[in-house]
Amino acid sequence: MDNLIALAFSAFILQNIILTQFLGICPFIGVSTKRSSALGMGFAVIFVMLISSSVTWVLYTYVLETLDIVYMRTIVFILVIAALVQMVETFLKKVSPSLYKALGIYLPLITTNCAVLGVAVLNITNGHSFIEMLVYTTFIGLGFLFVIYIFSMMREKLGRAPVPKAFKGAPIALIVAAVLAIIFTRFGD
């Protein structure tokens, strides 16, 4: 249990997926100009990440490893993620139109979001058990949501700030992200 708590804390803050592992930077910069879209993207990522990491973990441990074809990892994982995103999209559209309305437009963007494939691969390379995988993925996802949400609040303010012309948009966003990164990497010291 202690181990799981340490793993959760480390996944949430210390190994924060955006600020220290640099995964999912595209949505972090691209979809963080408004609070509502940051929340939508965050939840969509958690949702897809959990499903895809579970499926890829099971596939890897019970199919790829047993057949001794671990070199098919990248192909299988990315196809599974692409197919899952499609399925989630169709499923949501049918079952819960309101949720689809909230998350729908972010789902196609997620296929090429390196955070999802990254976490699926990290769960394998770190040698997580199934429970560890669930905890790690959940807290990595929550860390993503947390950071992108904080960042979107900062960017809403930045939009009105008198920033030099050359720094407008992405450059100033990156520099603000650096300040966040300093805070996050100093947490455990």
Binding site: Y71, I75, L79, N126, T185, D189
Partner: protein, 172 residues
Amino acid sequence: MSGGLKSGLVLLTFGLICGLLLAVVNEFTVDKIAAEELRLKTQAIEEYYSLDEYYIEIEEFEEGNIDSIFYIKESEDSDEVYALAYSVSANGYGGAITALVVIENDLTVQDYKIISHSESGPGTVVTDYDFNYSQADSISSFDGIAGATYTSNAMREIFSTIADRVESDMGV
């Protein structure tokens, strides 16, 4: 034939071709990869005991935090272990820390060094920090890194794993 089925077959064919291609490349590289992984592991040991003079036997572990134990002997058929080297990992602050600990047969710690880590902040000094671990069968004299609790705990875990089993491994 329905469109969906046809598309599925096309995709499957592509998958199979690519899978075959990868199997071929894998066949070519798999031995080289294993050899390189081994070289990287023994490279660290060769700093202390050259392969020309000593014989190194490797025992690998799948579970637990010991990755491998290197038995350094004076010749291949000697029963006596001249020295031991442990490659042990533990979870630090930013991820796994892997250390190599070399122990002589009188249980003095010859040296320890960090093979890989992903620490940040004060934890980065782990690479050349003196933990004051000198007698292999006890870690009573352990000095942690100030301000880096996770890193220190990981190193303590690494050293105590070794202390627990070094005597029986050495056969004393």
